[in-house]
Symmetry: C2
Subunit: 182 residues, 2 copies
């Protein structure tokens, strides 16, 4: 009875986080699995996750591997225990920072490179069409460079100045109430 109560809440939260994560371009399950681990507050074996989220063992395995790749879940070996346990990273800041560092930066670079190729091609053209387009590709490049610099700064400092809220990300306890209607 009591168990069913928090289980329902857990699914609700897991699904909500799943949506955010999907919005960031990952699969929903990644968010769900992380949330179950996070909410449990302790390490869990893969089977427990499969049970709670009604997933197949294979899917859980794949998902956990991917979560580890993003350093969002850690594998914990317990001496004497046959099975392995998994633990959620709890530092939101660290997680976001990691994702931005790896993913966003990669995309930004890849795009800049291609835009530069395009600019190079257009630079060769003598016709009006090429000239007109070159100028606009350069604007795109300028924008890309700004974005790239922002990302680098963000990642390097691990604490870019988003307005004045940066500090809150390290989540002091009990702040929920104050923020709720702030």
């Amino acid at each position: 009875m009591g168990v069913e109560l928090w289980h329902e809440a857990e699914l609700l939260a897991a699904d909500a986080v799943g949506d955010v994560i999907e919005h960031w371009g990952f699969r929903k399950v990644l968010g769900r699995v992380w949330t179950v681990l996070y909410l449990s507050g302790e390490t869990l074996p893969a089977v427990d996750i499969a049970d709670r989220l009604s997933m197949s063992a294979g899917s859980v395995s794949t998902t956990l591997t991917e979560l580890q790749r993003w350093a969002v879940v850690k594998r914990v070996w317990k001496p004497g225990e046959r099975r392995e346990y998994f633990e959620a990273e709890t530092d939101f800041w660290k997680m976001i920072s990691k994702v931005i560092a790896e993913r966003e930066r990669f995309v930004a670079r890849s795009v800049r490179d291609r835009l530069e190729s395009a600019a190079e091609l257009l630079g060769r053209g003598r016709d009006a069409g090429s000239k007109a387009r070159l100028e606009r590709v350069q604007r795109l490049l300028a924008f890309t460079n700004v974005a790239e610099k922002m990302i680098d700064t963000f990642v390097a400092s691990r604490r870019a100045d988003f307005g004045s809220f940066g500090d809150l990300l390290s989540l002091p306890r009990g702040i929920t109430q104050r923020l709720r209607r702030a």
Copy 2:
């Protein structure tokens, strides 16, 4: 001949932008179509876009409609002309601001609501499991609220302070060189 040169560059750039856009959770074509319009520097009829990107008329139509919904492309009626023309929004800042305002804010709210429901459920539980989870759901909520506040501030000011690069987003000409290796 000359035409083929810039056409190739155009496709290259369009594809690069398409990838960024896909990374943001939209379809690649949205980025491609916008880019073709942006680079052309003038208004274009739907057919031209279909030709340049080898898309079906239907797909172009759907895509243009969606781009208009995001205020990233405008429809332009030319007196005396039978067909309609389309024009790309060129203000990157305005576009991003719009997307964040509509999309991110929506997700943030939806997630917060669901997390609050979960917290409410957990608050009823008397068992240890519920209590332990409640605390963590509240941390998620605190984080969500911070994110929401950031988004609101960003959108309200239309110029949040991302490091010290905010100003550059309005792209003064010729800045490309300076930034390239800065």
